[in-house]
């Protein structure tokens, strides 16, 4: 079986409203995060991936299957929507059990998988209570349990961290990471860019229905040539280091750190920059304590490629 999710020139229009336009993607196993402003097409992309909507043009294949082969396709995909829907009056236990029955499990197997899923999200004790009495975080968890209960190979999670307290968020992230490490496709849409950095193997940036970038955060950052890389160097004499780097005509911008014990330098060629920095350190001109990329993260990529107003630059 094919091990990737493939979008080939996929477009989706809702009447005259653009959902996504000419998206071509190939997503391997691991954690992939969809990043984009509201209305950018993230949910449409997820709906296409889960077979809930059909593309207006193009072709989608999820691990070699299309939504036309419904039983196999849907048993392979777990979807956690962002909407807070639960059938009224049901308990957590019933919600998961009925979902598994809808997936076509026999009752014995459904009971076994329900127990397993509830334990995974640590809701075993609350399983017998009505979902209506759950906190927001518990509701988010039970949705996640519903998405993973039938052992899908692709897990699509729309804003799964919303409403979770820091502890529950850490637990959920740990679960995603574990599933991703085990070879599952975990696709997450999130606005929380700091967490995107922590959990993602790769990001897909989308805005206005158009794909802006995809790949690992580092790869994507390196492709943004018009925004030179920024590096934070912790050292004793940052102003001296800045002057040296400018003297060899390599840096395009320097900014002292607020505490005066470091400097942010921008460079168009990060490899050459590191070589020169090593040379300066080797000569003992400046004692360097630490070197770290300052804008090699999801937040910076988002700012550079999409902008704070959501319009791609």
């Amino acid at each position: 079986m094919n091990d990737t999710i493939v979008f080939e020139d996929v477009s989706k229009f809702y009447g005259e409203v653009l959902g996504v336009n000419r998206i071509s993607l190939s997503i391997p196993p691991g954690i992939t995060t969809l990043v984009g402003p509201n209305g950018s097409g993230k949910t449409t992309l997820m709906n296409l991936m889960t077979g809930l909507v059909q593309p207006s043009s193009g072709r989608i294949s999820v691990l070699g299957l299309t939504p036309d082969s419904a039983p196999e396709f849907f048993s392979m995909v777990g979807y956690c929507t962002q909407f807070d829907f639960f059938p009224r009056g049901v308990t957590g236990w019933q919600f998961i059990l009925d979902s598994l029955m809808l997936h076509g499990m026999e009752e014995d197997m459904a009971v076994h998988l329900t127990i397993e899923a509830l334990e995974r999200v640590q809701l075993g004790d609350a399983a017998g209570r009505s979902i209506a009495g759950y906190s927001k975080g518990m509701r988010q968890k039970i949705r996640l349990a519903q998405a993973i209960a039938h052992h899908p190979r692709v897990l699509v999670l729309d804003e799964p961290l919303n409403g979770l307290d820091p502890m529950a968020r850490a637990e959920s992230i740990a679960l995603f990471q574990e599933l991703g490490r085990q070879g599952m496709h975990v696709l997450i849409s999130s606005h929380i860019l700091d967490e995107v950095d922590r959990i993602s193997d790769r990001v897909v940036l989308i805005t206005g229905g158009y794909l802006i970038a995809e790949g690992s955060i580092h790869q994507v950052r390196q492709e943004v040539h018009e925004k030179p890389m920024q590096v934070l160097i912790r050292c004793e004499h940052p102003e001296l280091l800045a002057s040296k780097m400018f003297a060899i005509n390599h840096c395009v911008e320097a900014r002292l750190h607020a505490d005066g014990k470091g400097v942010f330098l921008r460079t168009a060629d990060i490899d050459q920059f590191h070589t020169m920095l090593c040379g300066i350190a080797a000569k003992g001109l400046v004692k360097i304590d630490a070197v770290a990329p300052a804008d090699d993260d999801a937040n910076a990529i988002y700012q550079y490629l999409i902008g704070s107003d959501g319009s791609a630059s």
Partner: protein, 291 residues
């Protein structure tokens, strides 16, 4: 880079046939429909005419009971096709009231809660989803329509001193067929209209309006153009025609309210086609979030 062992295993066990998944939706819907106290109240109300008609049959077949209540004549109430036409009509209209309450609970809650994406991300098609809801509604309405009607027929057959049931099997068929046509029609009508409204109470109001407003429009049409074809918008009159013919009962109204069976069938078929198109347009897992 770390090397991870890809040991995640997807579920590869057996899965149930599609009808079982539809049955799961139907069971869900059935529980939803009957979880309301108002549903129970309407159900009890729907059985009151049944009890009255049952008493009528009892009195008709029991001279001693008639004597006790000082009733005159050998049989004051004739238990025939006309009697069962009244039974069928009253049960069916109470069934409509029940449907107008239940159907919005089955659909509008799902729409209001954006439930369709999560439900349809299971291996259940849109047809399966609607079928599950339809089965739940059809089953609920059966309990107040053809089931009590046939129970009364059986009771009459049992109580009658003459071999009544065998000679009147057409009534039994008419009761069953008439009720099934009606509940199938109103089930699809109520589901279709409920799918276009997110507020349950409004949906109930619209269902009543859809039943009676076209009848008024049809009446105006008939009066202005001096034709009886405006009655093709009058569902109560059309159904009365069908019930009367299925039961073999004499027409309860004059010829001006009589319509050809073929024309009624075409009209009901067109209406069902419209309702299916409405369901097709609305029952989608579309989840567009903008702004």
């Amino acid at each position: 880079m770390a090397v991870y062992k890809h040991n995640y295993s997807a579920y590869t066990g057996s899965i149930t046939p599609p009808w079982k998944r539809v049955a799961a939706i139907a069971r869900y819907a059935f529980l939803e429909a009957w979880s309301s106290k108002i549903t129970i109240g309407l159900f009890v109300l729907s059985l009151l005419p049944f009890v009255l008609f049952l008493i009528g049959i009892y009195l008709a077949n029991n001279p001693l009971a008639r004597a006790l209540i000082n009733s005159q004549g050998p049989q004051t109430i004739a238990i025939d096709a006309r009697y069962f036409a009244k039974v069928l009509s009253s049960q069916c209209w109470l069934g409509f009231v029940l449907a107008s309450w239940i159907a919005p609970r089955l659909i509008t809650f799902d729409l209001a809660d954006n439930a369709l994406p999560i439900l349809l991300s299971h291996p259940v098609s849109r047809l399966g989803y609607v079928s599950g809801k339809f089965i739940a509604l059809f089953g609920s309405l059966s309990v107040v329509t053809w089931v009590p009607c046939l129970l009364l027929f059986v009771y009459q057959g049992y109580s009658s001193p003459q071999p009544w049931a065998a000679a009147n099997l057409r009534i039994a068929f008419g009761l069953f067929a008439g009720a099934v046509i009606w509940i199938a029609f109103i089930s699809i009508l109520c589901l279709a209209l409920s799918s276009w409204v997110k507020w349950r109470v409004v949906a109930t109001g619209i269902i009543f309006a859809a039943m009676f407003v076209p009848a008024g429009v049809g009446g105006i049409f008939s009066a202005v153009l001096r034709t009886r074809w405006g009655l093709l918008l009058n569902i109560p009159v059309m159904m009365s025609n069908i019930w009367q013919r299925l039961l073999g009962a004499p027409a309860p109204f004059n010829d001006r309210l009589s319509l050809p069976t073929g024309a009624i069938a075409v009209m009901l078929g067109l209406a069902c086609f419209l309702f299916i198109a409405m369901l097709n347009a609305r029952i989608r897992a579309r989840e567009v979030v903008r702004g």
